[in-house]
Point group: C4
Chain length 248, copies 4
């Protein structure tokens, strides 16, 4: 077994101009957005990636069938646009593995002709956010204006700690291969899977890519999530009042 194994399910006619990465991360925001688009556009899976840098783990589906943790590449082609999506179960368990895996992702992207990479993620702010803003960073100065026009903002040297993992390295290592890159990070609490944050991110991404993707499912999940949060808060409130009554 090689450290990283890529199994192509389809070999011919899979070129693409754009790669959108939505691997697991803060608030699962990038993952939610990328998987939502794949589902809405009915994108086709073209590759599976296995690696010893991933956790030594299998996942179990609804039928009780296991499969190795893996990442996947999907492709969408409406005749005009060809877009790859990098999604999956996990990121690397080690610093070195992050570098190796990202080089592997870029090898695939380069081979298939990708010119622009969008990496998606959450930006943890530590509290619930009513109207999540979308922060951005780019790997080429010229990209900034377009990204701002699509609704994302640039905060001076934010995030201060930089961007860790695949979302950052795809841009940083992509530069060395002449690929343009945009990272979009929607504000999120960092405590919960956050479909509302994902909705904000989707809105910017569709403007940037020209993709037409209905946000309805994400919005419904966000509404459900808010109902749940409201109920949790009421229950907590009731519990506290009760305790006060006992003490009083």
């Amino acid at each position: 077994m090689e450290p990283v194994n890529v199994n192509f399910l389809k070999d011919a006619g899979i070129g693409a101009d754009i790669l959108i990465e939505g691997l697991p991360g803060v608030g699962q925001v990038g993952k939610l957005v990328a998987e939502h688009i794949i589902h809405e556009l009915d994108a086709e899976k073209i590759a599976e990636i296995y690696s010893q840098y991933f956790p030594p783990q299998v996942l179990i589906d609804e039928e009780g069938v296991v499969r190795l943790v893996r990442n996947e590449i999907y492709r969408y082609d409406n005749g005009e646009k060809q877009i790859l999506f990098l999604v999956g179960d996990c990121q690397s368990t080690s610093a070195e593995g992050h570098y190796h895996l990202t080089e592997c992702y870029l090898d695939i992207a380069e081979r298939l002709g990708v010119k622009v990479i969008y990496t998606l993620g959450g930006y943890g702010v530590g509290h619930l956010v009513d109207e999540p803003r979308v922060l951005s960073a780019v790997n080429t100065p010229g990209l900034r204006k377009t990204v701002e026009e699509a609704g994302a903002i640039f905060e001076r040297e934010e995030p201060g700690g930089g961007i860790i993992g695949a979302s950052g390295l795809l841009l940083g290592l992509g530069t060395l291969r002449g690929m343009k890159g945009v990272c979009l990070m929607a504000e999120t609490s960092g405590y919960l899977v956050d479909p509302k944050s994902a909705g904000s991110l989707l809105s910017v991404l569709t403007k940037l890519t020209g993709l037409e993707v209905s946000p309805t499912t994400l919005q419904n999940r966000a509404t459900e999530m808010e109902l749940m949060i409201t109920k949790l808060r009421e229950a907590e409130h009731a519990r506290q009042n009760e305790e006060l009554t006992y003490i009083g």
Copy 2:
């Protein structure tokens, strides 16, 4: 020294159709079951596995003699059935090591002709369990019915975190080699070595494999364990009453 070293104690006539894995894990349930069967059927040791992925440690036997930590492969042959058992002292100390070791286990299994793998483990539930259920996951959808008929159950997407370590990877990586795989996980507290849980697992496994193995020794150990738990609880109870007396 290679990263993994397999020393065969016997080379000829060691083919087998089935591999049963019972390495250390939650509640030592898998280990208890596999070692119990090896002992009851008087299976023969055919290989020892040493690896730098194991802890850097020697164990000491009753006579004060040390030996490197290692895993072992036993084989049982009653003329009709040939079964391998993978048991031992340890699992890998690193994520990458888990992948390497499992590939090594599968190399052996493939070479000896194994078609089906059973991996055994405990499913930690955080409290003592009176009648431990046996959960299962499979790597081939068609196996489910047989496993259910043998008394194991499938819970929708349980365990939620998947299966970590050799028990999971043997199934996940085994799929890529065309091997069928069943993981059996008996409920256990996760705090104690649990022979009762092992008894439940043994019952399902013997139905699945047709092996005839007396559960008596395991049952005796389970009974001893319960006596011990009862005594511990009574002692704790007595201590608490005493304290209350002092305070009162």
Copy 3:
């Protein structure tokens, strides 16, 4: 991608006699001093170093443009002296990586003709220091007198834990290549980025190397820092008084 990649921006005429290392560390003292000198002398960047031993991270500049974390080599030449500076974003994430990276730094130094290495750092003492002393250690007994005359001191077997990371290994591994080495460590609290401590270190280093570098900017930053600390202390004082008033 190799484990360590060195990209030279300039190839010819870049020999040097001295290497000054100021990578991130306690109180960022070494980094402050080395970057201060580079800025004051307008040294020229001659190489960038990328490595999978670095954190898997990109940083974001004021314009929102990302770049991979990296270390850099600058060179200063006033006709008489040629000096290299090793500065940057990070050190290794693993013990083995520290050894590999240091060997790489020494390969560059050796190739460019370096005879003496100065490594700069902070010496964390756990409390604010009014007049930071500069401790030293050398890799060649004969160097001690000169270093003492420049104002640094040698404390018997201090620091007790030795010197960890690039500052230590450059001296230790440099010995094996016949390079002389001096480590300068200015006392610092360890809690804050410490320009005052950097000022003390600069004073010793300029005496040792004969470099003429104005300390003004560092002094200004130190004064600002002290104002800030004073204000923080007053605010804390006021808050405590207020609390006492409430309680009283």
Copy 4:
């Protein structure tokens, strides 16, 4: 740089029959004993070992001169006996490194003709011990009687966790090369460097090897240590009485 580097200071006439290992460990007991013997017998240093598996660190001597952390091999030859000593600053920082380093130590031992290995260590019991016993484990059943006659004891399956690090692996991996091995572990609190425990160990080791080594220095250090402990206890006692007086 290779992962492990052995620099021989002397090449010819350095054969030996016995290897005594005293690397850092619980209570520094093994280290104290081995270094004591080296000093008393004026053994000669024949090799230095550097490795990227060691911590990335230099140590500073009394003169302020740094050196890489390293392990060392000494040799003693009184015409009748030739004995190697493995001592030094550190053990491996990783599990895999432990295996690699031990194989390297055994390569040296094998090449120089070593037939028997003694590994020395402390056995942490969590409290101060008045008369430390010396526990033993061997890698060859036949060795037990001789070891018991020299004053060490064998406790059934003790230490329960086996022996971790070089002291264990030298015996375990040594077996595979046909070398006999004895591990001696003197009881110690585990909190302090323990010369008294080292004294007990020395007594057994000299009987086993026939070496004549005066225990006086170790005894003096043990007496000093006990005085210090007594003073610490009295001071603690006084402080508690004072507190009680305040409260009363």
